[in-house]
C-alpha cells in the first residue's frame, strides 16, 4: 500500500461523555511536510494527535498511519513514530541525559551514547545534562521532552504544542529545527494555538469544537480573506470589497478602466487573526 500520504484520516469521531472532542474529522497528511493543527484550547488537537499515535481509540472512523492501523499495528509503528506530549512527560528525578538514554534504550538505538550527546548539544542542554530534570525551567523540560521524542530518528513526529512556555529565541530555533527535519524527509504534525506559529507550517487545518473548519496552505487560508478597496475621487471616498485572490484586484480594476483621475488605490488586507477568528465565530453555534 503506497500512498503519498503519511496519514489518512476518514471521518473519525471521539466523545468524552457528552463532549464531542472530535466530530467526523477527515484529513490527509502528506509525507515530508510540516502539518499544523491550529485551534483554540479544547478544540480537539490533543485528542486528534493521541488518536493518530494509537493511545486513544476513536469511537468511529478510519485511521491509517504509514499504511498501518495505529492501534493494531502499534508495535510495528513504534520505531517510526515520535511523540512529544503536551505535558513534558519526562522523569523528574532523572537527568536529561538519563531520560534521553532511557527512551533510546527502549528504541534500541545504535551508537546510543554518541546520539544522546549530539541531541543534548542540539537542544542546548549540555551544560545541565547531569542535573535532575525537576530543577529545569519549563522551556528546558520541553526540550528534554523533544529530545526523548526524536532520539530514534522517527519518520513521523507528533508535537503537541511544542513551543508553549519556550522563550522566543528558542521558539525560532525550534522551528528552524523542525524545518530541517522536514527537509530530511521527516513528516511533522504539530499542534498550536498560536497563529504566527501556525503560519510556518506547509499545510494547516483549523479545528474548533472538534470540527475541522478549514484545511489549506497558509497562503491559501490568507487568500480566503477579503480585501477592501477604497477609492478616493475628488475628496469623496467610495469603498468596494473584493476577494484577496491575486487575480481579483486586477479584475476589479479592469472594470474601472483604470481611469487616470483615480489617484489612490489602497489595500487593507485582513490580518491572520481576523480571518481565523471569523472562521471560528461562524463555526460556533450560539447556545
Amino acid at each position: 500500500m503506497s500512498s503519498p500520504f503519511a496519514i489518512v484520516v476518514k471521518e473519525i469521531s471521539r466523545s468524552y461523555g457528552e463532549i464531542k472532542a472530535l466530530n467526523k474529522i477527515s484529513l490527509d497528511i502528506p509525507e515530508g511536510k510540516i502539518f499544523g493543527l491550529l485551534g483554540p484550547n479544547g478544540s480537539g488537537k490533543t485528542t486528534l494527535i493521541r488518536s493518530l499515535i494509537g493511545s486513544l481509540e476513536p469511537d468511529s472512523g478510519l485511521l491509517t498511519v504509514l499504511g498501518k492501523n495505529p492501534i493494531k499495528d502499534r508495535f510495528e509503528l513504534r520505531k517510526h513514530i515520535g511523540y512529544m506530549p503536551q505535558l513534558s512527560a519526562v522523569y523528574e528525578e532523572l537527568s536529561a541525559r538519563d531520560n534521553i538514554r532511557f527512551f533510546g534504550e527502549l528504541q534500541e538505538v545504535e551508537d546510543l551514547e554518541n546520539k544522546v550527546q549530539s541531541i543534548l548539544e542540539f537542544t542546548e542542554l549540555t551544560h545541565r545534562a547531569e542535573d535532575p530534570v525537576r530543577t529545569y525551567s519549563g522551556g528546558m523540560k520541553k526540550r528534554v521532552s523533544l529530545a526523548c521524542a526524536m532520539i530514534h530518528e522517527p519518520k513521523l513526529l507528533f508535537l503537541d504544542e511544542p513551543t508553549a512556555a519556550v522563550d522566543p529565541h528558542l521558539k525560532i530555533q525550534s522551528w528552524e529545527l523542525f524545518r530541517k527535519l522536514a527537509e530530511n524527509g521527516t513528516t511533522i504534525v504539530v499542534s498550536t494555538h498560536l497563529m504566527d506559529e501556525a503560519f510556518r507550517c506547509d499545510q494547516l487545518c483549523i479545528l474548533n469544537r472538534g470540527e475541522l473548519i478549514a484545511m489549506d496552505t497558509p497562503k491559501g487560508i490568507l487568500e480566503k480573506g477579503r480585501t477592501t478597496l477604497s477609492f478616493k475621487r475628488n475628496g469623496k471616498e467610495e469603498q468596494q470589497e473584493i476577494s484577496s485572490e491575486p487575480t481579483a484586484l486586477a479584475q476589479t480594476l479592469k472594470s474601472f478602466g483604470l481611469e487616470a483621475d483615480i489617484h489612490s488605490i489602497e489595500l487593507y488586507p485582513d490580518t491572520i487573526e481576523d480571518i481565523v477568528l471569523r472562521m471560528v465565530d461562524k463555526n460556533t453555534i450560539p447556545e
Binding site: 486513544l56 508495535f75 528525578e93 532511557f102
Partner: protein, 250 residues
C-alpha cells in the same frame, strides 16, 4: 524484546528510587524507626507480662512493614507515571505492559531486599534472636514473595487511581486489616469464624503462617510449601488482574 524492555525499566525504577532522597529515606529509615518503637514496646511489655515471646511479633511485623511500603511506594510511583504522561510515552515507544509490570516488580524487588536486610538485621540484633542460616534464608524467601505480591497489588490498585490521593483509600481497605486479621497479633484460629474467612483472603496470613512456624520451631515441609504455593498463586492472580486493568489505549 519484552525481557529487554523489562530490564531497562527495572534499572530506571531503581535509579529513580536511589535519586529520590525522600523515597529512599521513607523506605529505609521509617522501618528502622518502627522496629525501634517496637523494641521500646516489647521491653515494657516483657517486664509486665511474663511469657511474652518477642520474636512471635517481631518477625511478622518486619514482614508487614515490607508489605505495606512496597505496596504504597509502587502504587504511587505508577500513578505518577500515569499522571505525568510517561506511562503513555512508554506505550508509544512500543513497551508491552508485561514489561512495565515485570520491570516494576523487579525494581521494587530490589528495594524489598534492601528493606528486608535492614529490618531483619535490626530485629535480630535488637532482640538478640537466634536463627539457623536455613531459617534466615526461609524468612527472606517469604518476605521476598510477600514483597512481590505487594508490588503487584500496588500496580493493580494504581490502575484505578488518577492521582496519588486516590491510592490512600486502599490502605485501610486492603492493608490495615492485615494487622489484626492475618495472625500478626493474634492467631487466626482464635478469631470468630466469619472473620476467619476474611483472614484467609489476606496474603500476609500465609506469610505469617510460615514465620510463626519458624519462630516456634514448628516447621512442617508440607505446610510450608502449601503456604508458599498460595503466595505464588496470589502473585500470578494479581499479575493477571494488573495486566487486564493496565490499559494501553483509552
Amino acid at each position: 524484546m519484552i525481557s529487554k524492555h523489562l530490564t531497562t525499566i527495572s534499572k530506571r525504577v531503581i535509579k529513580q528510587l536511589i535519586l529520590d532522597k525522600r523515597y529512599l529515606a521513607l523506605s529505609t529509615i521509617a522501618p528502622l524507626v518502627i522496629i525501634g518503637f517496637y523494641k521500646l514496646f516489647a521491653d515494657a511489655i516483657t517486664s509486665s507480662t511474663p511469657g511474652f515471646v518477642i520474636a512471635r511479633y517481631a518477625i511478622p511485623i518486619s514482614a508487614f512493614i515490607v508489605h505495606f511500603l512496597c505496596f504504597i511506594l509502587c502504587a504511587i510511583a505508577l500513578v505518577q507515571e500515569r499522571k505525568d504522561g510517561t506511562l503513555e510515552r512508554l506505550f508509544i515507544n512500543g513497551v508491552h505492559k508485561t514489561s512495565i509490570i515485570g520491570g516494576y516488580a523487579l525494581g521494587y524487588f530490589g528495594l524489598a531486599t534492601l528493606q528486608s536486610v535492614i529490618v531483619l538485621t535490626e530485629t535480630i540484633w535488637l532482640f538478640d534472636l537466634d536463627f539457623t542460616s536455613g531459617e534466615i534464608i526461609l524468612i527472606f524467601i517469604v518476605i521476598w514473595l510477600l514483597a512481590i505480591v505487594s508490588v503487584l497489588l500496588g500496580i493493580f490498585v494504581s490502575t484505578f487511581a488518577r492521582s496519588e490521593g486516590h491510592v490512600f483509600p486502599f490502605i485501610p481497605l486492603l492493608i490495615l486489616p492485615s494487622i489484626f486479621l492475618s495472625g500478626l497479633l493474634i492467631d487466626v484460629s482464635l478469631l470468630p469464624n466469619p472473620v476467619q474467612i476474611f483472614s484467609h483472603l489476606l496474603p500476609l496470613n500465609y506469610a505469617n503462617n510460615i514465620l510463626q512456624d519458624i519462630v516456634f520451631d514448628d516447621l512442617n515441609m508440607h505446610e510450608t510449601l502449601q503456604n508458599i504455593g498460595i503466595l505464588l498463586g496470589y502473585a500470578i492472580c494479581l499479575w493477571i488482574l494488573a495486566s487486564s486493568t493496565l490499559k494501553e489505549t483509552e
